[in-house]
């Protein structure tokens, strides 16, 4: 994205937001995500307006093209596609955000410890990060998704429930999504560790915990936010692929990915079933990637050319 000077100096508390809004990518990302999130939140309202719900099966009205009662048509069981998209979006966004937050927490912990402790710990943790990055992700995700939770000692009725299917996918995706955050958090910690204010804090007798929590984390926060935003896109993609393969979100719950599972067989009869869920995944991931790019430009002083 183009790097432009902000037309006027951003002042005070809104500086970050203003800087973000002056990047075309940040603006576009916010707009895309805002539209999608608002629509998904408004799902019950849309359901009321249409006078139906996403679970009502009507086999006589299956695979219908768009009509006034079903603005985007119906799926293979005659359920309203628009409502299923909106409710499915809630699941996709929720799992994506939760997994990204979990991944960010894990990555921050690993990165900050590696950068702060240094030495062998650092070498080990970074080799670990490189190793995870190098692994063929999807095949391993499939193995994890196929693991029988009951064999891990969890109660059988919990293991087969929807909550478990969401939590499982969140955990799995987070286990692989932390690497970018860890790298950036480590880099930020390394440079902050040697700064005068950290030395001063240490000279005053601050404990390592205090130095990390009070002096290093706030300084590393912008890198962490950028890396997290950029990784949400990948996390949502990973969830959608697993759900598409039938290993992620399980029915009766639906996510955009799982809505595409049967779309391929029906691609001749009902191409719109293949079109919409994928388009929403694409728009959401693109939104997060653009937002991340905008944030990076707004928060990274080296890439910001205008006065701040």
């Amino acid at each position: 994205m183009s790097v432009e000077a902000a037309p006027f100096p951003a002042v005070g508390r809104c500086a970050g937001l203003c800087a973000l809004l002056h990047r075309p990518s940040g603006c576009a990302g916010l707009l895309l995500l805002g539209t999608i999130a608002t629509s998904c939140l408004a799902a019950p309202f849309v359901a009321m307006l249409l006078g139906t719900d996403p679970e009502t099966i009507d086999l006589l009205a299956r695979l219908q093209p768009p009509t006034p009662t079903h603005p985007l048509g119906t799926d293979e069981l005659g359920r309203d596609l628009l409502l299923r998209l909106l409710y499915g979006g809630r699941v996709s966004l929720f799992t994506g955000l939760l997994a990204a937050l979990l991944a960010a927490a894990l990555g921050t912990a690993i990165g900050v410890v590696a950068g702060y402790v240094g030495g062998r710990v650092d070498a080990f943790l970074m080799r670990l990060t490189d190793a995870v990055i190098a692994l063929p992700l999807l095949p391993l995700l499939i193995v994890l998704a196929a693991v029988d939770l009951a064999k891990l000692g969890l109660p059988a009725d919990f293991a087969s429930g929807s909550v478990a299917s969401v939590l499982r996918i969140v955990t799995i995706v987070a286990l692989f999504g932390w690497t970018t955050v860890a790298r950036l958090a480590r880099a930020a910690t390394l440079s902050l560790r040697e700064r005068e204010f950290v030395l001063a804090a240490r000279a005053l007798g601050a404990s390592d915990w205090r130095i990390v929590l009070v002096h290093i984390l706030p300084g590393a926060a912008s890198s962490i936010v950028v890396a997290t935003t950029l990784s949400i896109g990948n996390v949502i993609l990973a969830e959608s692929v697993l759900s598409f393969l039938g290993l992620g979100i399980q029915p009766p719950l639906a996510s955009w990915g799982s809505m595409l599972t049967h779309a391929q067989e029906l691609v001749f009869e009902a191409p719109w079933l293949a079109l919409w869920p994928g388009l929403l995944i694409f728009a959401t991931v693109l939104g997060f990637n653009l937002l991340g790019d905008g944030l990076q430009q707004a928060l990274d002083p080296r890439r910001r050319e205008g006065p701040s």
């Binding site: 994205m1 183009s2 790097v3 432009e4 075309p24 990518s25 080799r127 190793a131 990055i133 190098a134 692994l135 063929p136 992700l137 999807l138 095949p139 391993l140 499939i142 193995v143 994890l144 196929a146 693991v147 029988d148 009951a150 064999k151 891990l152 896109g233 993609l237 959608s240 692929v241 598409f244 393969l245 990915g257 595409l260 779309a263 391929q264 691609v267 001749f268 191409p271 293949a274 079109l275 869920p277 994928g278 388009l279 995944i281 694409f282 991931v285 693109l286 990637n289 653009l290 790019d293």
Partner: protein, 318 residues
């Protein structure tokens, strides 16, 4: 330099070992085991028989011991029999590996052929309209869900236009080389579009970083043209991070291949992993996953070697 190589080889081997153990342990946690499958296939099997069978196959032994035995025979090249295909695992895997490489090779080359010139163009005129457009396309490229892109291409080229087949490696009557190539177009195109975007971003970033170096300014000050500076001075140096990124992308490419192979019914390794895991074919799943891991890790190892060759600073151990 030899010491560095030896250390990296050692680390790669250790990592492979750790991953193989993790996969072995995880596969044991999947629903059903071989004896369960025998029981469901034959109603006369009693629980006493099942216990006896478990002891016979060593399935009652501790995990570490079972893993040790698997590893010992795997090291001699014996990965056991595939339950789904009734053939030795190696005989199932090798033709599939060839099919996967048939997808990955051309798409890797095509993606680089697209991304290199585009990335250079972007880096030459950062913040221009061209740069913004190409960047947006790149963002779109790596934001696309792989399976959806595959579906869209099928929708466009097979359903609407009817130009290309929607799946498989060849027509039912065998098919000549042209027919096989026609079947490969859509899968290769999907993989290419998925990877070209991030390659472009990396080429651009690497080149921009290099272009701000002192020696580039010196070359410019001597009166060197921009084109010459980029192609002769900057690009070879920017090649280092690009090589790394491409090698690190082997895993992503393999993951993409898995999805593409599933959607296009292309009999490759990725699809095999999926089928083997869902079909409770333990031996096959293990071997296929190990092969996938080996493939990406050796790509990384090769990248390290290349890095050593390209960068004298590392070679001299500075």
């Amino acid at each position: 330099m030899r010491r560095v190589v030896a250390r990296r080889a050692f680390e790669t081997a250790i990592l492979l070992l750790v991953v193989s153990f993790a996969i072995y342990a995880l596969i044991g946690l999947m629903p059903g085991d071989p004896i369960d499958l025998m029981i469901s296939a034959d109603p006369r099997v009693t629980s006493a028989d099942a216990a006896r069978l478990k002891a016979l196959y060593g399935l009652d032994r501790p995990l570490v011991e079972r893993y040790g035995r698997w590893l010992a025979s795997a090291l001699t090249g014996d990965f056991g029999y595939s339950r789904l295909y009734g053939q030795p695992v190696v005989a199932v895997l090798l033709p599939r590996l060839f099919n996967t490489l048939l997808l990955m090779g051309p798409s890797l080359i095509l993606a680089l052929a697209l991304a290199l010139p585009a990335g250079v163009l972007c880096a030459l005129r950062p913040a221009s309209r061209l740069d913004a457009t190409l960047n947006l396309l790149a963002f779109a490229g790596f934001s696309l869900p792989s399976f959806w892109l595959a579906l869209l291409l099928i929708l466009l080229f097979s359903v609407v236009l009817g130009w290309l087949p929607a799946g498989g490696v060849a027509s039912p009557d065998g098919g000549d080389l042209l027919d096989r190539a026609r079947h490969a177009v859509l899968p290769v195109l999907t993989l290419t579009l998925l990877t070209a975007g991030s390659f472009l971003r990396f080429v651009r970033a690497a080149l921009l970083e290099t272009l701000s170096d002192d020696y580039v300014r010196t070359a410019r000050a001597k009166g060197c043209g921009l084109r010459r500076v980029v192609l002769v001075h900057a690009l070879p140096n920017a090649a280092l991070p690009i090589v790394t990124v491409v090698a690190l992308h082997m895993g992503t490419l393999l993951s993409g291949a898995l999805v593409v192979e599933t959607v296009f019914a292309w009999p490759g390794t990725g699809r095999l992993v999926y089928d083997a895991i869902l079909g409770n074919d333990y031996n096959l799943a293990l071997a296929a996953l190990m092969l996938a891991t080996l493939l990406t890790l050796s790509a990384n190892f090769l990248a390290d070697l290349l890095y050593l060759r390209l960068d004298p600073r590392i070679r001299e151990g500075v």
